[in-house]
């Protein structure tokens, strides 16, 4: 089973992403900010990471940069959740090593469709 790390400071988004992915047959671990996610990612391997950008403690862009610098996450799909008003973050995220982005708001179907681009 592919294992995905879902990072968001909003509990409802986290639940929604987690629930959707689990229902689609993924193993999901949730984290509430970048720093928690980074620690988890160092302890266990993930097949993909989906992270919000705006979070307290450590934001999503920093998380992606940190993850990409780890040998274990050199090729791992790292997706960022962004909003349409934060699209300029896109290039910042790409520069940090993000694989792609998902624009909020999205529904569960869109999330899975997007995820198909990087993990099967």
């Amino acid at each position: 089973m592919k294992k995905i790390l879902a990072v968001d400071d909003s509990a409802s988004m986290r639940q929604m992403v987690g629930f959707t992915l689990k229902k689609a047959g993924f193993d999901v671990v949730e984290a509430k900010d970048g720093s928690e996610a980074l620690n988890l990612a160092k302890q266990q391997g993930f097949d993909a990471v989906i992270s919000d950008v705006n979070m307290p403690v450590m934001d999503g862009i920093t998380l992606i940069r940190e993850l990409r610098s780890l040998p274990d996450y050199k090729f791992t799909p790292l997706l960022m959740l962004t909003t349409e008003s934060g699209l300029d973050k896109k290039s910042e995220g790409k520069a940090a090593g993000a694989t792609g982005w998902i624009v909020k708001p999205f529904n569960p179907e869109q999330l899975l469709a997007v995820l198909k681009k990087v993990i099967r």
Binding site: S12, F19, D52, N54, R68, F75, P77, S85, G100, K117
Partner: protein
Amino acid sequence: MSIDLSQFFDVFFEESFEGLDAMESELLNLEPGKEDQETINTIFRAAHSIKGGSGTFGFTAVSDFTHVLETLLDQIRNGQRQLVAEHVNLLLKAVDCLRAMLTALQAQEEPERQEANELKQRFEAILNGENSTDAPEQAISEPEEQADLPITFQIDFKPLPYLFKTGNEPLYMIAELSELGELETQALHDEVPKLKQLNAEDCYLYWRFFLTTTRGESAIREIFEWVEDDAEITIVQCGGLFEEPVEQVEPSDTPQSVPAEAEVPVQTPASSKTVQENKKETVPAKDARKNTDPSTTSIRVGIDKVDSLINMVGELVITQAMLSQIGEQEITESSIAALQEGLAQLAHNTRDLQENVMRIRMLPISFVFSRFPRLVRDISQKLNKQVELKLIGEQTELDKTVMEKLSDPMVHLVRNSLDHGLETPEERIAQGKDPVGTVTLNAFHQGGNIVIEIMDDGKGLDTEKIRNKAIQNGLIQEQDELTVDEINELIFMPGFSTADNVSEISGRGVGMDVVRKNIQALNGSVEVSSEAGVGSTFTIRLPLTLAILDGQLVQVADHTYIIPLISIVESLQIDIAKVSNVGKGLQVLRLRDEYIPILRLYDIFNHKGAREELDKTLLVVVENDNYKVGILVDDLLAQQQVVIKSLEANYQRVDGISGATILGDGTVSLIIDISGLIKLSGLRRPGSSELLVDLKADEGIPA
């Protein structure tokens, strides 16, 4: 896969309200010009989360509105725009508006749009203002083009060597392309180097696809959206409808674009049918709000509380196992001893469990306190007063149900302090005071009570004015001599107001009597103390929890009543020599230097067969609202904690009774409401807190 989003609504609303609270309190901390980045970030994140969530869960009214807030905050955060006081005021209004919208949505109602639209326009006016350096919002997405008839595209996709290191995988893109229609793939490998020079982490392959699809170019572009900067991509229509040629899009960075006519034979479909229907996906009707009954409010409980409950239940299970083991044995003297020990342990565990379960409903009083910074700010602005609000003991815990009912009386008291208590800066300076007045909210535990003080350092209550007003209203007589405390107490009388004018802030018909009534409904009390020129303090005392009370069981005739232990001052045998008749059938007991009126429960509740001789009965002295009365009972039984059941909910309201409980033997016992009982006894003038007899005067009653 279809997922019912409504299951996430509760959490969404809960966190959104939390987010709004956080926004509000951070906004109140903001000083334009001196804003700190982390504060702005916190506010931004809250707005951002609400917008993301509301968009995702289909509350578009909220997400549309939050969008302008977020944009403004983002500009401030990025230093594109200077924060000014106007922004803070507008943002605070927006917080209120969002709260109202979310409350409506939670109740499954359509939110009021008008205010939101007005506020939104004001935000947009700021955003479009000339000092903005921000480019106008770009369109979010174009409608998806869809053709009825298949079109063939030639797609050239040449990733840059580092593609794998972005986490993207060409294989998955090819798979996705194949889902769009009929796909022919050519993998080109002429750039793969010799093995010695090959770097396994780089991508050397590139591809040419021919895709026949009805989905249009944008669907193809979408697949490569993430890698457009990491690859050379050319998409050219090379077959399909003549009549509606799709514009060629050639990214400037693609040198080797292929002519449209190349290689693939042009398909010529029946040319007359060229009307393109723009099929819009029909969105399923949103029936998604069913799980959000506002009455099913939830509370967040610290995991430590849950852990300790689990521990305790564990203990209980062990005790139960022990007892059932004893039960299976033959009864001997030693097994009885073990049984008793087990029962004692059971009692201990049950009590622990009960206390901890009660703790679950306990929340820090900061839930109430947190609304006051905003309130004080708004009111002091209206009144042109300078006020500093101090909050002390915010972590003091209080039952959630009590908390909900506490906030209105507190708001009233704080408003009063600001309006009547505190002076204007000029008046304060004239009196040698700091022009900034202070209002302090202080919460702490005292015994089984929680005490909340609302203090101000204003001018204090004007006793002369109160006295005159009371005489005017006929509450007291001209010749009545009252102590300062007694005069101050008058403000809690129904209909009493010292405000000369009904202002916007206070005096709107809700008097202090309502405050007192509301607090008494919680089995609490409120008192005032005040010193001219120094300030006033209102003290609210509340039981920690509503559902359980420590009670004294008393026997009257063949009935058992419960008197709240907390009201009991003492219980004593009556010395008949100290009892006097004071008329109207009322007797008082002289106790030290006080006279205690004697209330006969059997009279009030019409019981036959109670002991009437004073020397054979007991007197339970209770205190309520600073008055002491004695309740005559046949006997004192045990003291125990009782679970309060509402009589109103199960039967009807009964004067003098605050509720009922079920005793260990299954009988129902009524809990005495002291202040109701005093009223019922006729000891007090209707609508007055004064006792009919003046019990404090030493003279007039023969000892």
